[in-house]
């Protein structure tokens, strides 16, 4: 694992080439993380993959999180792995919620959903996982080859893993209730 100073070196290296790409670093519970501006996510992942001495070529996992009530609210995590040295590095892009900030923050997409660039062409493994993040958090990955839901039904409304999405339930209907509740099957 890159330690805290190593993480600062990575930050300086990326920001020298792409100013403003890495906003912050965190080194918590021995797990290093880079907090990245969402507009620069592709540049950062390419830099970490292709730069000499870095070699984070394996994308282990892509997942989302909802940090409600924190701002910015959403995050997409990219768990990178250097297979030669066995070093893991988490790249985290924080995304504000356009629905809460008004249409101006939407960036002209008009759907009220946060947007981030897809990395499927860099890491083909991200295809299903980005679809899963879209499905559950409503983060749109621009440039994804197949931007559909994956686990929820296609006509489902809403994004169920958001923290403000209620845990509902479907009423269970039993035949024994027919006497008290005629026409229960409707």
């Amino acid at each position: 694992m890159p330690d805290a100073p190593g993480l600062e070196l990575i930050l300086a290296g990326i920001n020298a080439e792409h100013p403003g790409a890495v906003l912050d670093t965190s080194f918590d519970r021995d797990q290093p993380a880079l907090i990245v501006h969402p507009d620069h996510i592709r540049e950062v992942l390419i830099w970490l993959r292709d730069t000499e001495g870095q070699g984070y070529t394996f994308l282990a996992s892509v997942h989302g999180a909802d940090y409600l009530p924190a701002e910015p609210r959403f995050a997409v995590h990219y768990e990178l792995l250097n297979r030669e040295r066995y070093e893991r590095l988490r790249v985290k892009a924080l995304l504000p919620d356009p629905a809460a900030e008004g249409d101006a923050a939407d960036g002209g997409h008009g759907d009220g959903l946060p947007h981030i660039a897809s990395v499927v062409d860099l890491f083909p493994t991200a295809e299903f996982q980005e679809r899963e993040v879209y499905d559950f958090f409503g983060v749109v990955f621009d440039g994804h080859p197949d931007p559909r839901r994956i686990l929820m039904p296609e006509d489902y409304a809403g994004h169920p893993q958001r923290r403000d999405f209620p845990i509902g339930g479907e009423p269970v209907i039993f035949t024994r209730d027919e006497a008290t509740n005629p026409g229960w099957w409707n």
Partner: protein, 428 residues
């Protein structure tokens, strides 16, 4: 047709199914010179396989584009057994999440528990006692045997070897008997607790494990005798479903699939977790990564698992089997009637659970299907803010398209079986 040909009895072909080739031969014999051009089957046909198909190992739906019998494109549709486990976990106290995550990948429940418990232990900084670590490794390797046995049985069934299925399930039950003995349940045992394991193993467990090792060593030899040089099995698996190592890595494939293509990547060796570094075992690898290599890698892994289990039983250290931190771990039952503090701790843990300082952790383990990672976000409350599983089946399924394109549709069944997807894990 000629009048004379009509009266002739069609003796030779009357009881057989008439294929285009036979029809052409017949016409050629009856009417020499009348040649028939056979059109190649160029028409593309889209076939829907599943979700209820016995060979899909669950409710997996595949939309397959076929040209004749050759697969030209393939799209997996998943989500039929999605039950929202990750969402449900967010409304549970940390230790109540354990039985939930077990039910994701229902054949590798000990690994799910280890991924989750390990993540929470990293978040809380809890140290797991050495005896508990050995017991965890012991049970995880037993679980690997169980998972591979179910895989081998169903895969052999898919390629037509019925008897292997019965032998595998016979041996699998011996493993489940051990789970029943140590944890009280055959499946979904909830044996791992945050900070250790729930209970120590009972007396007589060691003897049972040694008996199981002996019988399964014989069992694995039996499967090898049945399948290794079986003509049908070789024809069905050799040189089928091959994908290059580089492409597999791009697709994020891990586990036996990657190892079968010659990459000795095993988190038990690479990552530093539990006591795997003290144990002596090898990582089997294949050469070309066809179906046969995948079979050989998994079978050899079972032998290696037996080695690890034997070492765990031999070197099992004495000591506590759960951490002694009353903020996170339930006090022993015997203390409750004598110690007021224990009663208070017990009450607090059972009613509210423990709070975890804000932070996030990704904890990968090597499951029977590859890298199983658990990502937990703590927000300072007694419930996790997010529990996410990086399921190896989910990620590996993306490679099915590369494996199946250009192969026959019959080989698709074999390729899918060798992929070993568990739909409970894919859909979560």
């Amino acid at each position: 047709m000629e009048a004379g040909a009509k009266s002739e009895p069609r003796d030779s072909l009357i009881d057989q199914e008439l294929t285009p080739a036979m029809l052409a031969m017949e016409i050629e014999s009856k009417l020499p010179g009348a040649t028939v051009e056979l059109e190649p089957e160029q028409e593309m046909m889209t076939v829907n396989m599943g979700p209820h198909h016995p060979a899909t190992h669950g409710v997996l739906r595949l939309i397959v584009d076929l040209e004749g019998e050759v697969v030209k494109d393939l799209k997996p549709i998943v989500g039929y057994v999605h039950t929202g486990i990750e969402k449900s976990c967010e409304s549970m106290a940390y230790w109540k999440v354990i039985p939930f995550v077990e039910r994701m990948d229902y054949l590798s429940y000990f690994f799910n528990m280890q991924a989750y418990c390990g993540a929470v232990e990293k978040l809380t900084g809890l140290e797991v006692p050495r005896r508990a670590q050995y017991l965890r490794v012991l049970h995880m390797e037993l679980n690997r045997l169980h998972s591979h046995l179910v895989w081998l049985g169903t895969t052999a069934l898919d390629v037509g070897a019925m008897s292997v299925y019965f032998y595998c399930f016979r041996d699998r039950d011996r493993v489940l008997d051990l789970f029943e003995m140590s944890a009280g349940q055959r499946m979904h045992t909830r044996y791992f607790q945050i900070g250790g394991v729930v209970e120590d193993i009972p007396s007589g467990f060691e003897r049972k494990v040694r008996e199981m090792i002996e019988s399964l060593t014989r069992g694995i030899g039996q499967y090898e005798a049945l399948l290794d040089r079986n003509e049908i099995f070789l024809l069905r698996t050799k040189n089928i479903g091959m994908v290059s190592r580089e492409r597999l890595l791009e697709l994020g494939v891990t586990g036996p699939l990657l190892r079968a293509s010659g990459d000795a990547w095993d988190l038990r060796k690479e990552a530093d977790y539990l006591v795997y570094d003290e144990l002596d075992f090898d990582v089997p690898v294949g050469t070309v990564g066809d179906g046969y290599d995948r079979y050989r890698v998994r079978l050899t892994e079972m032998r290696e698992s037996l080695k690890i289990i034997e070492q765990c039983i031999d070197g099992l250290p004495e000591g506590p089997w759960i951490a002694d931190d009353r903020k996170y771990v339930l006090p022993p039952r015997s203390e409750l009637s004598t110690s007021m503090e224990s009663l208070i701790h017990h009450f607090k843990l059972v009613t509210e659970g423990f709070r975890v300082a804000p932070g996030e952790v990704y904890n990968p383990v090597e499951s029977p299907r590859g890298e199983l990672g658990c990502f937990v976000v703590a927000d300072g409350s007694a419930k996790p803010a997010r529990v996410h599983f990086r399921e190896p089946s989910f990620v590996n399924l993306q490679a099915l398209r590369d494996m199946a394109i250009g192969e026959y549709v019959a080989d698709l069944i074999q390729t899918l079986a060798m992929l070993d997807p568990i739909l409970g894990g894919i859909d979560r």
